[in-house]
Symmetry: D2
Subunit: 279 residues, 4 copies
């Protein structure tokens, strides 16, 4: 039987778990498979994620929940089916390769609708895996015109999430606003260290002993969106900036894959530029 | 106001969260601060840990809970006050030092009632921190007589937990049976690799590239009890067995401290030789 | 200009670095790019790895080195060109995928001559990347006959290294003897914990808090060969044995890739069942 | 016999290892125990660290080395004896405790000459371990006057290294200039992320999933000196800023201890604001 996922976030108050479970269990006789709650103490905000199975009327259930829950509550009632995603890439293959392989072997809870790139170097790889590839070159067109073309193509596919798999161009606030908390980026540094371009060169220059990568939702501020996952590896003085870049790639692809697993399984809440994650 | 902690484990069935929260919230109007549940799917066993505040009659609350919960349920109603512990050590100081320091600065949720050792080398350190030290030598007495003397001393203090802070003698099943799931040991290897004596020499011999330490509850089988926490560090061919031992000490003291934090805060369930931990 | 690599191991004695560098620098005027030495103190054995460039007569240089170095010395004079390898796999794709991708993008210092498998499930993947695939089924033939067929195919390709990319069949001592310290295996556990079959089920059963993977050379004793690289990830009670398996896959492919980088770049010595690695 | 340590750094050129070893081995018949070299390729700078034993005339050996080595060479000829250090602290005990304990058990290759603090809260701890404690309050005096008083006290002890064990005051360029590359600081963040005050609050605010600590030499720019060691631990949304601070303390004390081990054993070169470390 299909698992359903209920995501609730609202101002905290007494008895919320009781109120939700009394509707799910007592009124609808649904079978709760997994339950997680968290209260963010700085702002007294309540988060709950419940997986359950059983028959119910969607509209009625939501109505009943809205009735007992505080004003301002956000409810999302979804399920475990595969989400649809579009990938944007530039020239580096490692994140794209990893996602295409996982997709091919049914290990990604998503359908990759297409890959869009401003270069064509990844076309051969992409079509090997029977995924449509769109080369939208940025050469000879304005930044705005290029982004508009990309946006139009993305919108044709109408994906639930957009994944920036080493897409090396900055997206405008306008683009981002079409997909609030639905664009996932992999940043090749341990944010907030080394924002911006060439983070490995910066890391080398600074002589750090650990480098990392950060997967985050994209918002209007470059590299400032809510962090979903981070990971690191040790480096030392023997690593040139180029070797740090190479060493960082495995971290990047692993952390992007990990973050997508969380996002695609509806385990992630965004609240005040931070993520609340139910693992 | 004092936080209370309710630990429940029982065979899983529908509506358990609802039933518990309806008593805590609906009947007693208690304020639930933190709530965690987990269902072990192999054996369909339910675990729940709830922190709550408010006034209640202990006996009545337990009676009400027993009424709605399945047969075979285990309930523990406790609180966040400091637990009492006794430390056993031999000659190595690093775990003992670490716990004495944390104790002195009020960072351990425990009162160290005393330190017992089969040598006197750690006496000077212990009494610096105004903790009683008992030197119970194993020389010239039988293993049984020595253990009986240690047991007698421990029992005089009547601790809630016994911590083996690098106590290098094997405890008998009889000793262990007095403190079921209440003895925490630090084993100087990444169990189950290298059980028994001289794990670092074994690790060196095997040429491993990572060494670790394991904190676990002690049961009748040496080094086979439920694992609470583990941690590792990288090593390489340049480490002699002695250098591995030194490198391992920081890991040992950190992992012991981490496991005690979990145990003393009542975050750990033991079930079928595994631990369920609510972090 | 081509880099050369000189690998020396011999009983330690005074002045070895001087003797070697005096030949390379003083007599042949070769340019030393990188130099590493290590003395294993238990057996007083000396290891040296030197990268150098310049023109020289191979036979003469070796003769000169043998003259000044102690009896029993082992010399290997090689270079940085791509090594030839054959991959053996069974049904799981993750290690094979990773190596095929790295190969396709020229990131593996090796030519993959072919993939051999006892199943055909990985054929489609392999030929996507224009690598020959040999399906040698083990069904209906004896263990010996199957291995003989595999051996014959491997020998046709005459590879410098054989990589077991999740090849789930045990190789006989006879097979192994053809490729001493030239077969690299990825074992899906943190050896020496959980040798043998189903390590993740064993890890689940034991309730470990960290799982790992081990890349090692294969010798006659199953899972007992010299360890090249290990890596770990944390797990907890929420991971089923199946989820541990999935979580372990990323570790496996990363640690296999890391070990191959070391082996293919001639950075690894084997000595008394341990590895000495110059990074 | 006493081990000597020779540290060389100079512009790279051909034959440097040969030239050094020919003097040590060929001319002086010294026994080289351990040898490490590294060439920084961006600036073609050569680093060599050699441990050796045997009898020699210090002045003559240095003269011979200077003769064959390039202009601009820096030579340091030292040994493995304990270095003298002074510790500065403020109110937090964890790094100081850790160093005092290691010192008491002879695990730090240093004599702690004294502890200086701008508060007296750590006095009781310090004198437990028979180390002199100087309380130099910053209250009611100017920043300059306070620092001058601290400097005067440090200079009375004439230490080889000054260790800032959570000393929460900024040192002036003048102070630092007295101890170039001889002041080690522990910074409570994964530099260069979260420079300045309250890094854990910043880390919480940014919602990072990993926090870290950095040990570095102090130079004129706050938190910008050469990094010696870094380490990290995972955190998540359940950690408040205060809990991150607590979790970070174990990392801080471990990374400070690790960096001191490297510094006190003369394993660290500083070059262009980066460290070259021979492990």
């Amino acid at each position: 039987m299909q698992s359903n996922i209920l995501l609730i976030n609202c101002p905290d108050e007494s008895g919320l778990v009781f109120k939700v479970t009394s509707i799910l269990y007592n009124k609808y006789d649904l079978n709760i498979i997994r339950n997680g709650e968290f209260v963010e103490r700085n702002f007294n905000h309540f988060f709950m994620r419940t997986e359950f199975s059983g028959a119910f009327d969607r509209e009625e259930l939501l109505k009943d929940l809205y009735e007992v829950l505080p004003e301002g509550v956000e409810l999302k009632l979804t399920d475990k089916r595969k989400k649809s995603i579009v990938l944007l890439a530039t020239k580096e293959h490692h994140c794209l390769s990893d996602l295409l392989i996982r997709h091919a072997f049914n290990e990604l809870n998503a359908n990759i609708l297409c890959v869009i790139s401003n270069y064509n170097v990844l076309e051969e790889l992409t079509i090997k895996f029977d995924v449509p590839f769109h080369h939208i070159s940025h050469e000879g067109v304005s930044r705005e015109a290029h982004e508009a073309a990309v946006l139009q193509t993305v919108q044709q596919y109408d994906p639930e999430f957009v994944v920036l798999a080493k897409y090396m161009r900055i997206l405008s606030g306008d683009f981002v606003s079409h997909f609030a908390n639905r664009i996932v980026n992999i940043h090749h540094s341990f944010l907030p260290a080394f924002v911006g371009a060439n983070p490995y060169a910066q890391a080398y220059e600074r002589g750090v002993k650990i480098i990392g990568a950060t997967a985050h939702f994209v918002n209007n501020d470059l590299d400032q969106g809510p962090i979903i996952a981070q990971s690191v590896i040790p480096v030392d003085h023997t690593h040139s900036a180029r070797e740090m870049t190479q060493a960082g790639r495995d971290v990047e692809k692993n952390v992007l894959a990990k973050s997508l697993k969380l996002v695609l399984n509806e385990q992630v809440f965004v609240y005040r530029n931070r993520t609340i994650i139910f693992e």
